[in-house]
């Protein structure tokens, strides 16, 4: 569906100054105005951990926009290509070990091209039985303004159909590279059977989107506490990142006991936190969160289903 957010005719014209948001893709709603949620087993804090498995091509086009983490040096940029590939060869193993040691369930956001190229990695993930989310074709396929609708439709179809073939999973969730969207992304992924996407960081619980076809919900996945934002963009220390995650867990757990179910979302990027000097901080975070009383570690779909069943009936 089209976005209803007409353009202003001048600096003092405000055509979208009305109740609710200035577009009509979702309802305006404050978190505290919603019916409290409960998670299975009576837990109050769901833990949603996304592990992106990414392919950064050596020959990126950078179109329609360049997504963070891509090549920056003159071709061939061995430096960034191999450092990103490190995550899929070495880092992922450390991250998986840390997750398993704390019995934390990951959800993998996978660039389809990576699973085509890396059957051993694909088999490793398949053998674990964890959920796989769509993450577009590669980190060089930004879904952003400037991408033709027909091109994006083909990109979404190709990414999802091939990922479904390669994994045998329904692939219900989606994360756009760089959390960017074109005006058409939500409609196109919904049309291809995506039920929840994690691109909009405007909430801490799932909420429903209005789309041209198919039912689509937004799932929270915070950028501000993600490893790339904290360590790469902000240049915080690993120790500080771990403190921040632990503080977030403590706050959300306390709030969830008063206000109903909350979700702690965490992004663990293997090429970044899988480095030997960083992994111990991941371990500390996972140990802390999993030791808290009231935490439910689950996949994206499990959390989505539990939330949707309660919200849709409310």
């Amino acid at each position: 569906m089209a976005w209803t957010t007409p353009s202003a005719s001048g600096p003092l014209d405000y055509p979208n100054r009305h109740y609710g948001n200035d577009h009509d893709r979702y309802e305006w709603s404050m978190l505290t105005d919603r019916a409290p949620l409960t998670w299975p087993g009576g837990e109050t804090l769901a833990l949603f951990v996304v592990v992106p498995l990414q392919f950064f091509p050596l020959n990126p086009t950078g179109k329609p926009v360049k997504v963070a983490g891509n090549m920056t040096m003159p071709y061939p940029d061995l430096r960034h290509y191999t450092l990103r590939d490190y995550g899929n060869r070495v880092g992922i193993h450390r991250v998986l070990k840390a997750l398993d040691a704390s019995n934390v369930t990951p959800t993998f956001a996978v660039n389809t091209r990576l699973f085509e190229r890396e059957p051993l990695l694909r088999e490793l993930i398949a053998g674990r039985g964890n959920e796989v989310m769509g993450h577009s074709w590669s980190m060089d396929t930004a879904h952003a303004g400037g991408l033709e609708e027909s091109e994006e439709r083909e990109l979404v179809q190709r990414s999802l159909s091939r990922l479904r073939e390669l994994t045998g999973q329904p692939v219900r969730g989606w994360l756009s590279p760089g959390k960017l969207n074109s005006p058409n992304t939500p409609d196109l992924i919904a049309a291809e059977g995506i039920e929840y996407f994690c691109d909009w960081v405007n909430d801490e619980l799932p909420y429903r989107w209005n789309t041209a076809s198919g039912e689509l919900w937004s799932m929270p996945l915070a950028t501000e506490i993600s490893d790339t934002f904290t360590l790469v963009d902000n240049l915080h220390s690993e120790e500080s990142w771990a403190d921040q995650v632990c503080d977030a867990a403590d706050l959300l757990l306390a709030e969830s006991r008063e206000q109903g179910g909350r979700i702690l979302t965490l992004t663990l990027t293997p090429w970044l936190v899988g480095q030997p000097h960083r992994i111990k901080h991941v371990e500390r975070v996972l140990q802390h969160v999993s030791s808290l009383d009231g935490v439910w570690s689950a996949s994206g779909s499990e959390i989505f289903d539990a939330a949707k069943a309660q919200i849709a009936c409310a």
């Binding site: 600096p11 100054r17 109740y19 200035d22 952003a144 950028t223 506490i225 915080h236 220390s237 706050l251």
Partner: protein, 318 residues
């Protein structure tokens, strides 16, 4: 207009004159407080589809700029209530820097703030509508629109102004005063209230609004860690509180509901507020109350002092 139009920019601001920090009359606050503390939550609305501005681009991506828009939407959907709860806990009334379009978009937030007798001051209409490029008539219209909206929604005209997205013209402060305003947050030249020289000659004051302690400057521009932000607030308080033994000081904590209220950052603000409000002789107040009190009790003394310390000079610059 020739290709080489004359450069009409001024070399310096003329809103205020020199006034050395150590040559000022003593400021006293109500109840003998050493320091006036005010917290200024910026409650803003950003447009998903703002008009282009020749001087500043609202979003780094083409429509829809999801990362920037969605985190600011988070502030109103999630962050506001979290911050409000902390301010309630410490008995602090917010002085809201309000994008007045929020009255139309999210009136629920306005009602919650009204119930708490928070102050509303103007921060323009939207934080994606800049002062840049507006002529005097247009800027006056923007200001009046925000005043009328806030007055209609709250029953009281705002008296403070922080220009939208800190975008200014040479006349911003004058126009605000001429529309009935009594204080500005747009000058960062001092730690105490200072009289402002205006073309209208109206009594008008600059109230300190710390950019250094502004959470968005701290977190987004300077990229500091949450616990360090909390420590910076405490350190600033300690110094201003100590200096308050000699003459009253002002401390402002400007916040944004999409920054301080995230789960990994709220604790830093909460601990800092717990620390500050644990002290005696702190006047926990609002920007308007500081401005009112200063204009009533200190403004005339201050202008006389400024005249006196500058009396030996003719005001000209070598």
């Amino acid at each position: 207009m020739t290709a080489d139009a004359a450069d009409t920019r001024k070399e310096a601001l003329d809103y205020y004159r020199p006034w050395p920090y150590d040559q000022r009359p003593k400021i006293t606050w109500p109840g003998g407080a050493k320091i006036a503390l005010w917290v200024a939550p910026n409650i803003e609305v950003y447009e998903l589809n703002p008009p282009a501005n020749a001087f500043r681009t609202p979003w780094p991506q083409p429509f829809p700029a999801v990362p920037g828009y969605s985190i600011r939407d988070y502030g109103n959907r999630v962050g506001h209530m979290r911050q409000m709860k902390v301010l309630d806990k410490y008995g602090i009334r917010g002085s809201i820097s309000l994008s007045s379009a929020l009255i139309d978009h999210h009136p629920e937030i306005i009602e919650l703030c009204k119930e708490r007798y928070w102050e509303f001051f103007s921060h323009g209409i939207y934080n994606t509508r800049y002062t840049y490029g507006l002529d005097e008539t247009q800027e006056r219209a923007l200001i009046q629109d925000s005043i009328d909206s806030i007055t209609a929604a709250t029953g009281r005209a705002p008296v403070g102004y922080l220009a939208p997205a800190l975008s200014h013209s040479e006349l911003t402060v004058d126009l605000w005063a001429e529309a009935g305003g009594t204080y500005t947050c747009d000058l960062f030249h001092d730690d105490q209230p200072t009289p402002v020289k205006l073309r209208s000659g109206k009594p008008f004051v600059s109230i300190p609004y710390s950019l250094e302690l502004n959470d968005t400057i701290a977190y987004v521009v300077n990229k500091i860690e949450p616990r360090r932000y909390g420590q910076m607030i405490k350190d600033a308080f300690d110094r201003l509180y100590a200096e308050g033994d000699e003459s009253g000081t002002v401390m402002c904590i400007p916040t944004h509901n999409y920054q301080v209220s995230t789960p990994h950052r709220l604790k830093a603000l909460e601990e800092a507020l717990e620390y500050i409000t644990g002290h005696s002789d702190v006047w926990v107040t609002t920007g308007r109350e500081i401005a009112d009190y200063y204009l009533e009790n200190h403004y005339d003394t201050a202008t006389a002092s400024i005249d006196a310390v500058n009396a030996g000079t003719d005001g000209s610059v070598a």
